[in-house]
Point group: C2
Chain length 465, copies 2
């Protein structure tokens, strides 16, 4: 894979739904800029800040919308161009198409006997998605320097390339998918013309990138089955990695230290099983708790000897599916705690407030980290846990997480749908000897440190050429 | 493809879950034999009856269980060997593994955020499935003549071949899948050892057959992704077809004529849209009715001018998913009828009694036949409708039905998840001119008649060599 030894010769334009900066309207009516969060922004932000790169993103807040009027804004080290859309248009594109269709598609989350149902409202939302993509393409065409490398991020923005190919043939277009990619059987769920538009939109880039060879194969298989032949876009694989310096800074903060103290107090001398996830259907929270229930049933020695710290913060609660899922999760945790709790022992600590320092504290402290998604583009938490942990903790990882491809052999395998196998794997990990833990955790750290965000950016720039 | 010009040189053994004959205990305590029903039996039965072939199947009734004690029974032209299992073992294998796991797997019917969850009970059921398969293998090993071609049918019986390879290396083993076949992403849902056992079980045959090239590709892709390399079993494609003589006999019966008269009376001079299906999650009944609702909304000229005769009989009601689905279907039909009905016009006639002559009558009479499954191994109804219809009726077919591969170009395409596109396709089909109907229906009949059940049997025998 490429490294950043050679500074990129081409100017760089990053295009993503969410930008590196968010604006709010200050007390004096002026705009106040703040660095944003999220995996993409935290990975890419530091590499782009202070460069001449331009970052184009959708306006999320009223402040962002005001910033949009000013064109390219230079602040906090970024050159940012924010795009404002009519709220209804953006919401249809973002909620209905991006979150409720494309996310579900690539993660295989539909109960297909019932959902999706493509009706008039959905077709209008698809038109809105197309509009949003066209506006993005227009702005890229306008502001991109000659011969720039345009790095388009994720499923929100699949239709830019055909427009840009026409209007700006000098640009080099790279698309990177942060999700899994739907295989042919899943892609056929879309209305046939929409599936074709999506695949053609991606294939019009010069290169398409994925976190694992498996998602890259899915992309190629879907293109072949639905469009015939191979896509003209080159396919490349480049897993994202966490930034160790960034993690060290978070781990060293006072907030993290305080959270760790509180956690230690609650856990005491028990073993600590941890998960850190959004409350997201693909993360497989329900079966994770069922597996913990099985663990206590099948392996009585762990009763009162283990605490499951589940740091799971709400997400996309505008979609009824997510609200229902959260309620199921909370109900199941209550049932399991009611079944097993004793004086002085609460088996599961479910924390649903989004508290990043506390999550980092949990990753420093775990004995075993459970990462059991049913399908996940990469899963940075598995790698972050490996880098942050201070107790030679072990990671129990689903092969359906993209990170499996890099971490296999240094983690314990959990079959995400098999709660018996998961329970036994957790029991075995919790019972590992100090020496086993030392060896395994060292190998895991080595793997998790093998790449940096800079490698990932360099791969995209290399793919542009 | 092979024909039956040359009588097969090898003795034949057919192995399937359901046999061609069912037995009941008569008033005098003796066993009374009756020919069974079902797509496989009606296709294969007439070809096997009167030959020396032996048919091995599970006992379903108390009579079947008694027959099992007698070894090979010769009756109604068949040589049948019925196998009795302890009821709990058979129920675990059939309900939990076959119907609630393998059927859902190959049809992609799971709401994966919640189902399946492989727990202790499921693992016990898998052990029962393995036992049932082993008992089948033992009996085949015992009764199969030297060098016989053993034709193993469907997902109920995937694990016979490894046992038979050891015990009877003289046999030639063919497996035929009547369902779709799960691609790699779906197959990974199974516990990893179970997925491997299933794929290895199939690959141990000399040949594996499927209704379409698409399912054959899925099988090969799944084997490649999960097991590495290509399966040693040869892959062949051989779509089943209805028997025209058998259909003509049913169509000519008094019961069918009476049903047709009653149907004519209810429909009058209106156009008739028909569907004939089990109430089965993969058949996509809900979206079919939603599409009809859209048709009436978007194309007002069809209000009071079309009747939707839906002949949908219950299936697998022991599984809660099917009972819930039936209730949703019935509720939706009520809602739509309440919305649109007028004096003298009931938009949807939903008939849920299993009445074969009435279904045949509906297939004789339709103007448009809707076959919109989300996934279907073949779908014989589409071909039967083509052969039975007496009004140059058109077929609106989902590309997710295996029959699409043979009928594309002679049918109207309906995207199964897109109720707007389906509504418009139905409106267009209902509004076709007499000349359009004549040309299209003729081509459709030609395609549906292109093969017979004998071709399908001959392909399996050819694959054995």
């Amino acid at each position: 894979m490429a490294t950043d030894e050679h500074a990129p010769a081409r100017p760089v334009v990053v295009v993503s739904n969410r930008g590196p900066i968010s604006f709010r309207v200050g007390d004096d009516g002026g705009l106040v800029a703040r660095r944003g969060a999220g995996g993409l922004v935290s990975g890419l932000g530091p590499l782009v800040a202070g460069t001449d790169a331009t970052w184009i993103a959708a306006a999320m807040s009223e402040g962002d919308r005001r910033a949009a009027d000013r064109g390219v804004v230079e602040t906090e080290g970024f050159r940012v161009r924010t795009l404002a859309f009519p709220p209804d248009t953006y919401r249809a594109a973002y909620d209905v198409v991006c979150n409720a269709t494309l996310w579900f598609l690539h993660h295989g989350l539909w109960d297909l006997a019932r959902r999706p149902r493509f009706d008039d409202r959905w077709h209008e939302a698809w038109a809105a998605y197309r509009t949003v993509n066209e506006v993005f393409a227009d702005v890229v065409a306008e502001v991109a320097p000659d011969d720039a490398a345009v790095l388009v991020q994720d499923y929100h923005l699949c239709l830019l390339a055909p427009v840009l190919r026409d209007r700006r043939p000098d640009l080099r277009l790279v698309h990177f998918s942060h999700t899994p990619f739907a295989g042919p059987d899943l892609l056929r769920v879309l209305p046939s013309a929409v599936g074709a538009e999506l695949l053609d939109g991606l294939a019009a880039h010069h290169a398409c990138g994925f976190h694992t060879p498996r998602w890259a194969r899915s992309w190629e298989a879907s293109y072949r089955e639905l469009r015939g032949g191979s896509p003209t876009a080159a396919t490349f694989v480049s897993p994202l990695a966490p930034d160790p310096d960034d993690l060290a800074t978070s781990a060293g903060s006072d907030a993290c230290r305080n959270s760790l103290d509180q956690l230690e107090e609650r856990v005491g001398d028990r073993s600590l099983l941890v998960r850190v996830d959004r409350i997201e259907l693909s993360k497989n929270l329900l079966r994770g708790f069922h597996a913990f229930d099985e663990l206590l049933r099948r392996h009585p020695r762990w009763r009162e000897r283990v605490v499951f710290g589940a740091f799971c913060y709400p997400s996309r609660e505008g979609l009824p599916e997510y609200l229902a899922y959260r309620q199921e999760v909370e109900g199941l945790v209550r049932t399991i705690n009611d079944r097993w709790r004793t004086d002085g022992w609460e088996p599961i600590l479910l924390e649903t407030a989004d508290d990043y320092p506390r999550s980092v504290a949990a990753l420093r402290r775990f004995d075993v980290l459970l990462v059991n998604p049913i399908r996940d583009g990469l899963n940075l938490v598995a790698k972050e846990g490996a880098l942050l942990n201070e107790r030679h903790g072990l990671v129990a990882l689903s092969p359906e997480a993209g990170a499996w491809f890099e971490l296999e052999g240094a983690v314990r395998r959990v079959d995400p749908y098999d709660v018996v196998q998961t329970a036994d794997a957790l029991a075995s990990a919790l019972g590992a000897t100090v020496e086993e833990r030392r060896v395994e955790a060292a190998e895991l750290r080595r793997r998790a440190r093998a790449r940096t965000p800079a490698d990932w950016l360099a791969d995209q720039l290399a793919a542009a050429d």
